[in-house]
Amino acid sequence: MDRNQISKWIKSPVKMGHKYSLHAVYFCTGCGIIEIPPSITARWDAERFGVIPVATSRQANLFLITGYVSLKTLKAIIRTYEQMAEPKFTVGFGSCPINGGMYWDSYNTIKHLDKYIPVDGWIAGCMPRPEAIFVAVTHLWTLIDREMADGYKRYRKNYKFYRSNQEKLYGKLEWPPLFQKDGAK
């Protein structure tokens, strides 16, 4: 927690800004969302790290995907992810987004979330506890420090592949592609 080291603020304010003001999208997928309220209220206050839930995806830069991702929810996740402003970070929460978890052979849930949207951090556990969220947040800090939390850059670079994966799943998508040529908006 190097928040109050002034030298770092002066050297790279952008990185420090992103580290200590992660606004999370209030998006409930699957069973993990029940872990978010305790983590933002009195007992495990997330606001002391600067993490607060905000109302719309436009205002957010952290996207918690909490729990299994069914085919219907994946559409909403992709749309919300594309509406967020760059630089944005996603954290897969629980074992279901990692490799399908206990729905490993279900016909209706996707198995590997990072085939469809880039994911920066994973939290293992079949519904990890709120402390695990803070582990993920601190882990995300180190990633941001080392410029490794580049999910949005990968999305922009390989948008063609992400888009083709999504179309493989749904056939024709209702919303136009986010980036026309490779990398340009």
Partner: protein, 618 residues
């Protein structure tokens, strides 16, 4: 180049326009624009002249006097400028409607008769032109048939009542003073008994108040404005209502005289103070009704009544800044109200007749110039700093507060906030929000419609930033009434109790805006996204159902709509019902077949003979 030629040429030219319409439409259009331009040019030419012409008519002591002074010139300028712009606007607006020649004839007739009223020096010619204006307005209001005829009927009945009141006033003035020339009438009304002045005051106030849509006589205006064709409703609320104010000014300050009007008391009532309260009430009540309207033109019509309240308040207040504010607001109201009606006309022209606020939306991208016009008009009517509305309202507020009338000032300020809410609803429901599917391929408003809007916007901004120009003329008008002139500079009013410095505010606002715009541009460039790419909690944006404009202020509507019923309107309708049932009962007597009439004559004769025999009166 005296006034007789102007009026004569203008009248014949408008007939010529009608006839040329039979030959070819473009010739008629060209002629109509030429006539109105000619009128405007001649008025501007008469800038500093003030002279009178006596024309002898057949009757010895009824000369037709045409005169011009700064007040007349000020009104003539408003009328001719708004007239030219509305004629230019309606070239395109009327193109595919029927009876277009008739429309242009009536439009020019209204313009010319208004000029006639302004130029007329004696009450007789004043009344003649007043009548020409009334019935030509009636014909134009009921131009597009259907509900317009009922609106026109309501207008013509109320304006006839008004003309009757004015006629009796003129006649009683003639019998009392033997002359009809305004200049001679000027001083001597103050010699008569207070009862007579009250009688004349009530007559003229009702007469001009009806045309002025003051609170008790306002109910003809909303239907008339919303049913009339848009360019004409721009003219109607831009200049025609001001003729009523011109009449009030002539009566208060010229015939009644300044000193008599200030403390005009009749027994316990102070008429001037009562008039201020009527003005204040006319500001608040219609503005809150306008807030809840769902038809664009009806909303603007109710605002015309509200803004007239400011003018009445300003004029009736009697101090120099108050009267200056009132007269300046006449000029401003003509500018921004005309602009707003023209923008609604352009929208109506493009969406062929749709002006319901609940079904429009998102036209900002399709009609940007119309939107800019509507925005500047809205800022003007709200009285945003840097627009002309701000200066005139500031003058009115300053006098109200400095002269210690806080409740009047409160009513006026409350009216401003009501205007903000309803004008934002007007802008939001038509131009902002999602663009419905069926308006996807709307084109921009044609140039002949955009040009008048640009001219009006220019007038609003220049008079807002440099109010010295119009204030100089208004100062001359005030001194002609005998009030102390304001000490003004090119950019505002200098006075010890609180100066107004518009250029100061202009530089502050422009500077702040520029700096913040620079800072805004400094940061990473924002990317433009489509209208459908909107936050909808992850779901797809439903086409055509993603627009919240239906009854925009619903919570307020539920709260105040019961107590905003228009009691005056209901009173008039009840009055109309009573008269109709009365007439029906008379029909029993005169039921049309002659047998009854002969019987009545015989009965009457027998009665006479009987009386003669019994009491032998002769």
């Amino acid at each position: 180049m005296n006034l007789v030629y102007i009026l004569a040429v203008a009248f014949t030219a408008s007939l010529l326009v009608y006839l040329s319409g039979k030959i070819s439409k473009t010739l008629r259009n060209f002629l109509a624009v030429l006539v109105s331009l000619g009128m405007a040019a001649s008025v501007i030419y008469l800038y500093n002249h003030s002279f009178a012409i006596h024309l002898s008519t057949g009757f010895p002591d009824f000369p037709l006097v045409l005169r011009i002074n700064t007040l007349a010139w000020f009104f003539a300028l408003i009328i001719s400028v708004v007239g030219v712009l509305t004629v230019i606007f309606s070239l395109q607006y009327i193109k595919n409607k029927k009876r277009t020649d008739f429309y242009f004839l009536m439009l020019l007739l209204v313009n010319v008769s208004m000029l006639g009223i302004i130029f007329s020096g004696d009450l007789l010619s004043f009344y003649i032109f007043w009548e020409i204006m009334s019935w030509s307005t009636f014909l134009l209001i009921s131009y597009n048939r259907g509900a317009a005829i009922a609106a026109g009927m309501k207008y013509i009945i109320m304006s006839l009542a008004g003309s009757a009141a004015i006629l009796t006033g003129i006649l009683s003035l003639y019998t009392c003073f033997g002359t009809l020339i305004i200049a001679e009438l000027a001083g001597n009304l103050s010699l008569t008994s207070p009862a007579y002045t009250l009688f004349i005051f009530l007559l003229f106030f009702t007469g001009f108040g009806i045309k002025n849509a003051v609170w008790p006589f306002h109910s003809w205006l909303p239907p008339a404005h919303s049913e009339a064709p848009s360019p004409f409703s721009a003219l109607l609320s831009g200049t025609l209502i001001k003729i009523g104010t011109y009449g009030l000014i002539i009566f208060f300050y010229v015939i009644l005289g300044m000193k008599k009007f200030i403390g005009l008391k009749y027994g316990f009532f102070n008429l001037q103070y009562m008039l201020c309260w009527i003005g204040a009430f006319t500001i608040v009540f219609p503005t809150f009704i306008a807030l809840l309207q769902n038809d664009a033109k009806r909303l603007l019509a109710w605002h015309s009544i509200g803004q007239m309240g400011y003018i009445i308040l300003g004029i009736a207040f009697g101090t120099s800044t108050g009267v200056a504010g009132g007269i300046f607001h006449i000029f401003n109201h003509a500018a921004f109200k005309g602009l707003l009606f023209l923008s609604v006309g352009a929208v109506e022209y493009r969406t062929n007749g749709v002006r319901d606020l609940n079904s429009l939306g998102g036209l900002l991208k399709k009609m940007p110039v119309t939107f800019c016009g509507a925005l500047i008009g809205a800022c003007g009517i709200i009285g945003m700093p840097l627009t002309n509305g701000f200066v005139s309202k500031w003058l009115i507020y300053k006098t109200l507060i400095v002269e210690k009338y806080p409740f009047l000032a409160f009513a006026a300020l409350l009216g401003t906030w009501g205007t903000i809410l309803s004008l934002y609803k007007f802008l939001h429901n038509i131009f902002l929000g999602q663009l419905p599917e069926k308006y996807k391929n709307i084109k921009k408003a044609p140039f002949t419609m955009q040009f008048p809007m640009l001219v009006f916007s220019l007038i609003i901004i220049t008079c807002g930033v440099l109010p010295g120009i119009p204030l100089k003329i208004i100062n001359r008008i005030i001194t002609s009434f005998g009030l102390k002139a304001l000490d003004i500079s090119i950019w505002g009013v200098i006075s010890e109790t609180g100066a107004l410095n518009t250029v100061n505010i202009f530089f502050a606002l422009a500077g702040a805006f520029f700096i913040i715009w620079l800072i805004f541009k400094l940061w990473p460039k924002e990317t433009k996204i489509a209208q459908a790419d909107n936050y909808a909690a992850g779901a797809a944006v439903p086409r055509d159902k993603y627009n919240y404009t239906v009854n925009f202020y619903n919570p307020l509507y539920r709260m105040i709509s019961p107590c905003l019923r228009d009691f005056i309107d209901e009173f008039y309708i009840r009055l109309a019902k009573i008269t109709r049932s009365l007439c029906n009962s008379i029909k029993l007597v005169y039921n049309g077949d002659t047998g009854y009439y002969i019987m009545y004559i015989i009965l009457f004769m027998t009665a006479l003979i009987f009386i003669q025999i019994k009491w032998s009166i002769w």
